[in-house]
């Protein structure tokens, strides 16, 4: 019953992560949507420095992603919107 009630409150829609569609719902942050989809690594500082969600409250700037072409947005602070295109900078850069 609770599940049904929550479904009514939340709109479900897709966002695009590196060209792949994932389902999410209104009110979630990009970080929550990524982790729900099993994506833990949000970016790669160097070959051996992958980073994901750390502080979860907008302090540490570890979870930076590109949102609709705008780089360095905090995934933990940015709410998802229908049709949003997220690019993860997980291409390894030279150390």
């Amino acid at each position: 019953l609770l599940e049904k009630a929550l479904k009514k409150v939340h709109q479900h829609f897709n966002i695009e992560i590196n060209g792949r569609d994932i389902e999410t719902r209104s009110g979630q942050t990009i970080a929550a949507a990524l982790i729900a989809a099993g994506v833990l690594t949000f970016r790669q500082l160097t070959d051996d420095e992958p980073r994901g969600l750390f502080c979860g409250m907008g302090v540490c700037f570890d979870c930076l992603v590109t949102v609709d072409g705008i780089p360095d947005q905090r995934a933990c602070m940015t709410p998802v919107l229908p049709g949003m295109k997220i690019t993860l900078n997980t291409e390894s850069k030279p150390a």
């Binding site: 929550a32 982790i35 729900a36 980073r51 750390f54 502080c55 360095d72």
Partner: protein, 467 residues
Amino acid sequence: MKTTELAIVGAGPGGLSAAITAAQAGVQVTLLDEYPHPGGQYLRGARQDKAISPKTKTERLSHSLLEQLPSQKIDIRTGTLVWGIENHRLALHSAQGTEWLTAKKIIIATGARELTSPFPGWTLPGVMTVGAAQILVKEHGVVPGKRILLAGSGPLLLATASALSKSEHAISILGILEATQPLSWMKHTLAALGNLDRLIEGWQYAQSLIRNKIPYRFGYTVIRAEGTNRLTSVTIARVDRRGKAIPGSEEHISVDTLCIGYGFLPNTELTQLAGCAHEYIPERGGWVPITDETLQTSLPGIYAVGETAGVGGAKTAMLQGQIAALGVSLELGRLTKDEFARRYLPLTKQLQPLKRFGAMLNTLFRPHPAFDELITDETIICRCEQVRAGEIRQAIRGGAHTLSHLKNWLPVGQGPCQGRTCAPLLTRLINAETDLPSGKIGQFRPRPPLKPVPLGALANSTDEESR
């Protein structure tokens, strides 16, 4: 340029209670918060999850503030970052762009951030603060992984494990590693006894651990996190009463999520940038602005309440919010001296036992100084610029004994987080090498914009200034 009588920065329990108290006294209030919704960290998830009923008195009180908010005459500006302050002018940034707000009085209620303790591998995806895990599960209904271990010190570990165990997802919570020993808790019994509702809250968490068979291990800590692209395992060890890892006690555990936390630190970037005088008080969680009996800082008209003025929890924050709002209302002539005194005295009385409890949390559950030995030279300390403990220790031995001095030698604190994460860790390393007290090591000097703001927005704001 816009003006208001009272600007409140931060809409957590402290900011909310200040806003409502002042608005009811007839003060024109603008309430600002970086998040899309009011409530702060404490009330995150409260909005979504109406089914979860508040249990403690503090929870009920703070929820009722959130419910009262829409009916108040308050200009609520969520999704608005305050990135600068100059005298009584605040620099704001939101989706609408950048603007300035001038206020006769300003209450700063910017809350706290989590204190962590570094170890090799703590930058791997899958290692996160307990707060991050709590937000995921409580606000978003998402679990951070399937095999979860919690480690650090203090009640937030219990609260998070309890929240995770209530999730409908199939997960195993492998345990909680509490770094302190129960014996060290004994001397704080008196402080705890004066705070019955906090004890009941703790007991409720403990019951939920027992019900869910979650092991709670005293005197254990994580010494290493392992994995290539993400966390796959951790090595833990037992620590003795002096905080030293006991050789041979290491255990290897396969996990995909490690949640770490050692309590909170006041967010003082805005009070620092404003120019308020600060002092280092370990019992309040570290550097705090100096405040008087109505929470006014060293700068007239600028107040600091809640965690910003000293980590003490939501109840303290709500009481302080009311006190500061009464002070503001008195100064603006909306309250008589008698009315002020009548309402002020009972509030300060309630603060006394809370102060002792906060002091206990802020000293008992901190990382033991001996844990520094677990920080190998390869361990990253500044996560933004990837500066490692070895280089930092070298700089300290070379004479860099303050944070600002270290910043001249190394790129620490120069990344986007402006040193919010590494400042307490660098302070620890200087403590360990020099025996200097933290108060002498100083703080990083915050710079505007306090958090990155698009360059275009900054250019526009200066345009407006020169006009």
